[in-house]
Symmetry: C2
Subunit: 360 residues, 2 copies
């Protein structure tokens, strides 16, 4: 019997995804050349729909990679000659920092305990940092950094690049792409698609930096460096044979979301998040993990489990309601639950989940 | 109406592929965690089937990337401290060489004209080269390097690593993985799957080298370096959220191929290639491009077009027989045809294609 996945990624598929894959097979998109007009039309359509959905200016490139993890590496390689700066408050923002260390950069971090978030006022960016790495939604702890704070941070540091990890929140955060320099996500979270595709949005000033670095013999990589990505993008092609079906389906899902309207999706997300947080607040055996309401993620709700066992709750909800919720991340596996509130699940499903949790 | 693709990649889908994707959706594999036992079982199954199909020893790691293009980069990054050596005879072997240059290595090449191939006897490997890069099948020109010659090359250079680009030939070449150090392919060629997944086979001596390089502050990359890939592989996991459905379907296709039997697939491949080459030899308006029969690819047949226009032939075959053949690569677009002879097309389809070509 079909389950409903409230796991924070891979997650429940968006309701139209399987149908779009079927259409892709019917059109034999698995066999078309990635140097054909048919592919260029697909890439162009996906870019157009993402521009509408996330309000991305025409000047920004929109590229595809194997994963968002790959984009951490490409961002550091292509925009950091010496020093990067990272806001770290969980496992994924920490990994982004680790990548910079592994690439022999001088990586600075401002670290906060698991479950705490960042506002601009408390952040001092090191003088020589070239790239500020922020996380719109830390998937491991359920902490968000609000777009307004990210925008202020860039305004206060105009000489530096700022990038936003939107992996488990896109397209929810209303980011201003005229302010931020880059953002990225992967499709298996709130876009509700099978994994295997990362999406990277980049402004042309980052390309200039990468080109300068290349002439100074920095290793900016090969096929997925910014000069190669921008050059291919100018004709809606990719450097390598890409995940053609994934690019097609992402465009279709973005189109479906545009038909619903991003404002509606944002309101629905907030309404569903409120239902989950309100329940957790009143529930005897649950506590909201993130204390500051401004830092509470709207897309990944993390709760502490009291008295009961987290594993038992997960098991019982699956047995009773055929719904799968996520365990806590890493050390918090036994004591927390993570409930994804992505666009693929509707209010009714969230209410059914709350009922199932109530009966535990 | 459904077309049959004889294009050299992306190519005709293997007959069972769409069904396996359907099964993946029915099992909700797009939503399962890549840290779950279910995913580990899938990875393990795919590895087991590939080991049987390609006779890969238990000691070799089998990893997944976004593309084979990515593997060119990872191979150089992880196994070449200073110098690489490349047998170059077409666009793809040339790109592999270019990647080494881009990564600031001292890249040597032994280059031959487009359409010519390599045998061990004529190859002198530079003294300090650490990695010998060979191409089992140069997709752009339809030239193969026979496994026996690759094995001899390694035996004559035991102190160096040898890797084999099998992108447009796997699983056809009968390579001895006890001799070669690494091989790789992508799934959109002879495995007949939608693109978006590369597969990299590596022996543990390459891991040792990568670990040594890491301690000497070489940039071996981050999540997709060999220490990270081998560590995750030991528990059948991947460093990042991978293309789960692709990994599942690859395992199923490999299983289907094992049920047919690799020897049968090889014999069928050679029989179909013979039909195509025999026809080209007798045909008034076609010439076999690769003069040396030993160097003629069994999986990508390249022919020169005389008197007629290549584009017209492609168009007419599509109109008459609903079959798509590939154009020549790059500068040869107007004067050559490339006909993929992958496992997804059977003898009957090849004979129908030959009939359609005969009527042009």
């Amino acid at each position: 019997m079909r389950k409903t996945y409230f796991t924070p990624g891979p997650a429940e598929l968006f309701p139209t995804v399987e149908r779009h894959y079927q259409a892709a097979f019917e059109q034999q998109l698995g066999s078309i050349s990635h140097r054909s007009q048919k592919f260029r039309d697909i890439y162009k359509h996906t870019v157009e729909q993402l521009r509408i959905l996330m309000n991305v200016p025409e000047t920004n490139g929109i590229f595809f990679t194997g994963s968002a993890t790959e984009i951490w590496e490409r961002l550091i390689q292509n925009t950091v000659e010496h020093e990067s700066f990272h806001l770290v408050n969980g496992s994924f923002s920490k990994k982004f920092y680790d990548f910079s260390v592994d690439l022999n950069k001088f990586a600075h971090k401002f670290e906060k305990p698991f479950g705490e978030g960042f506002d601009n006022a408390e952040v001092t960016v090191p003088e020589y940092a070239e790239l500020i790495c922020t996380t719109a939604n830390e998937t491991s702890s359920g902490v968000q950094m609000r777009p307004a704070e990210i925008h202020k941070l860039k305004r206060a540091n105009k000489d530096k690049f700022i990038c936003v990890d939107m992996v488990s929140s896109a397209p929810y955060p209303d980011l201003d792409f005229n302010i931020i320099d880059s953002a990225f996500f992967s499709v298996q979270k709130s876009f509700g698609m099978p994994a295997g595709l990362g999406c990277w949005i980049v402004n042309p000033s980052m390309l200039e930096k990468a080109e300068r670095m290349k002439t100074h013999e920095n290793q900016i990589g090969t096929y997925h460096n910014l000069p190669s990505l921008f050059k291919n993008f100018s004709k809606f092609e990719t450097p390598e044979t890409p995940n053609v079906m994934g690019i097609y389906v992402l465009g279709k899902v973005a189109e479906d979301m545009n038909n619903i309207g991003i404002e509606t999706i944002r309101k629905q997300t907030e309404k569903k998040a409120k239902v989950l947080y309100d329940f957790a607040e009143k529930c005897d055996f649950l506590d909201i993990f993130v204390k500051n309401p401004d830092h509470r993620s709207q897309t990944v709700v993390v709760v502490n489990v009291k008295e009961k066992s987290a594993a038992d709750i997960i098991k019982q909800v699956q047995t009773d309601a055929n719904m799968v919720i996520g365990s806590g991340y890493g050390d918090f596996k036994a004591t927390q639950l993570r409930i994804a509130n992505f666009a693929a699940v509707n209010l009714e499903q969230v209410e059914t989940l709350v009922e199932a949790l109530r009966k535990v």
